[in-house]
């Protein structure tokens, strides 16, 4: 059989594959009960627990417990759907042989990362919408009504989700097996939550814990979220006496850059080649 002599068409662009991957990643995410419960629904569960236990108690005059902790829970949700879900997911895909398949297909790593990022952004948006709805409707947390606060909410969420995604990709290269990832990554996430003032009022934590937390994004995401959900006068109660938006943006951006470089340099389709 002689094939007609023509050009072998170029393989599809990386953006086309990335788009297909976003849909695939979403499907897989939704079909993984573990992900749905421990990453997606977990913040809502936290909200229910905090709301039920502390009810309308006040952290400070005019700031209810539910309101204060909504900030930390939203930030945690972003970390779970990005950093934790991505880190565990990739380790599992590597063990399962999914990534070896992608490698032999010549999948551009950028298309793979793009698929992850797209899935993270969409599932994070859905998660936050659900969380805010529950907080507002069930626990009477007042939601902001000025666009400036929503803009802050948007960039803090976006920065946190992107940092979490690239750091999740990076951590999956170092963590080893899926089993190690499933044990190590959530443990790391929990420790960060304790240090970053998700479970306690941040200013009541020992200074050394505050300083450790200040290195990582979660503390800054939580603080950024407080600036969205807490009244303006609450800024005075922060460690710096202000919301520190500039510094928050800088830390998140720095982690996006560091995470991207780390992810790009350490990413492997398979363990040990």
């Amino acid at each position: 059989m002689t094939a007609p002599v023509l050009t072998r068409p170029a393989p599809p662009s990386w953006t086309r594959i990335a788009r297909a991957r976003v849909l695939l990643e979403l499907r897989l995410f939704l079909r993984e009960p573990q992900q749905v419960v421990f990453s997606f629904a977990y913040p809502v569960l936290m909200m229910v627990v905090f709301g039920s236990v502390f009810g309308a108690n006040e952290v400070s005059p005019g700031v209810s417990f539910s309101q204060y902790f909504l900030a930390g829970i939203a930030a945690t949700g972003i970390m779970l759907t990005s950093f934790q879900a991505v880190g565990m997911g990739i380790a599992e895909e590597r063990d399962r042989g999914d990534l070896a398949r992608l490698q032999v297909l010549g999948t551009p790593p950028l298309a793979y990362a793009g698929g992850k990022a797209g899935q993270v952004l969409l599932s994070t948006a859905a998660q936050l919408a659900l969380l805010l709805a529950v907080a507002a409707l069930v626990y009477d947390v007042p939601l902001p009504d000025d666009p400036g606060r929503w803009a802050t909410f948007a960039w803090v969420s976006l920065g946190g989700a992107l940092a979490g995604t690239v750091l999740g990709i990076a951590v999956s290269s170092g963590v080893g097996s899926a089993r190690a990832a499933a044990a190590g990554i959530p443990a790391l996430a929990i420790v960060l939550q304790f240090f970053s003032g998700v479970f306690f009022v941040f200013t009541e934590l020992p200074a050394w814990m505050q300083q450790v937390a200040a290195v990582f994004p979660l503390k800054w995401m939580t603080q950024g979220m407080r600036s969205v959900f807490l009244p303006e006068q609450a800024a005075a109660a922060e460690v710096a006496g202000a919301w520190e938006h500039g510094r928050t943006a800088l830390v998140l951006l720095a982690w996006v850059v560091v995470g991207t470089v780390l992810a790009a340099r350490t990413f492997r389709w398979r363990r040990g080649a």
Binding site: M1, T2, A3, P4, V5, L6, T7, R8, P9, A10, P11, P12, R16, I17, R19, A20, L23, L24, R27, L28, R31, E32, E93, D95, R96, G97, D98, A100, R101, Q103, V104, L105, G106, T107, P108, W269, R270, A273
Partner: protein, 307 residues
Amino acid sequence: MQKDSLLPTTRALAADPREEPPDPGPVISIRGLVKRYGGRAVVDGVDLEVRRGEVFALLGPNGAGKTTTVEVLAGVRRRDAGEVQVLGVDPAVGDRAWRDRVGVVAQTTGAGNALTVRETVDHFAAYHATPVPGGELLDLVGLGATARTRVDKLSGGQRRRLEVALGVQGRPELLFLDEPTTGLDPVARRQSWALVESLRAAGTTVLLTTHYLDEAAHLADRVGVITAGRLVEVAPPAELGGELRREATVRWTEDGVPREVRTYRPAAVLRDLLAAAPGELPDLTVTRPGLEDVYLRLVGVPEEAVR
């Protein structure tokens, strides 16, 4: 499997037309390939050329280095020494356009995820310029009836077939099949053979590994026997073993005792035997070694061990 039922298959799988007329050079050329693990050479100086359009089978015992060789050729494992060209490109630096021309079915089957079979092939269609249509692809590997089953719920053999489907989906010019039929039932094996035959008819070059000698004999234009990382012989299946092949064994029973003589000239032995025999020679046979016998001797298994 009827030949004519394969005709549409052949068309479906025709490799993508390419710019230049197929160059006459080898599709795979390996010189002095070495791969070491912790100082131990598991591939130890392999030289090999595979021609365009050829089906080449690598045979060899467990741990001989077949998978390692295939992985180096497929560009997923680094080598320690040697020159390797696959479709004119060093696989260690093969880019996306190169990978697009190469199909790979690895030895290890993925555990599968929560997607259905059909969703999986539909998704991976997005990775190729001119993929084989999904329904056709599933029929080719006999997965048409399981299209709606989740991949992680498939049987091992079914997952194997899906891997094969994904390996040929992009109409590769060169296909690596590492033990494609291990774990398949006899019907599925024949189906895989038919697939390889139609690939060959469509001009695809195939490098496969197998432990089934009948498979190698049936499919391959040439086979290479690799043992302890060295390629000990390369020949068409019917000629493998050269001298070993021509040695015949004459067996008969004399006074109730089985006798046998090995010879390159069985006719002469028979003449002498018949001349000396008073009547019938019970259990008289003349046999030549089959592929399996030759293979066992090539890989150095002492005959007593397998008798």
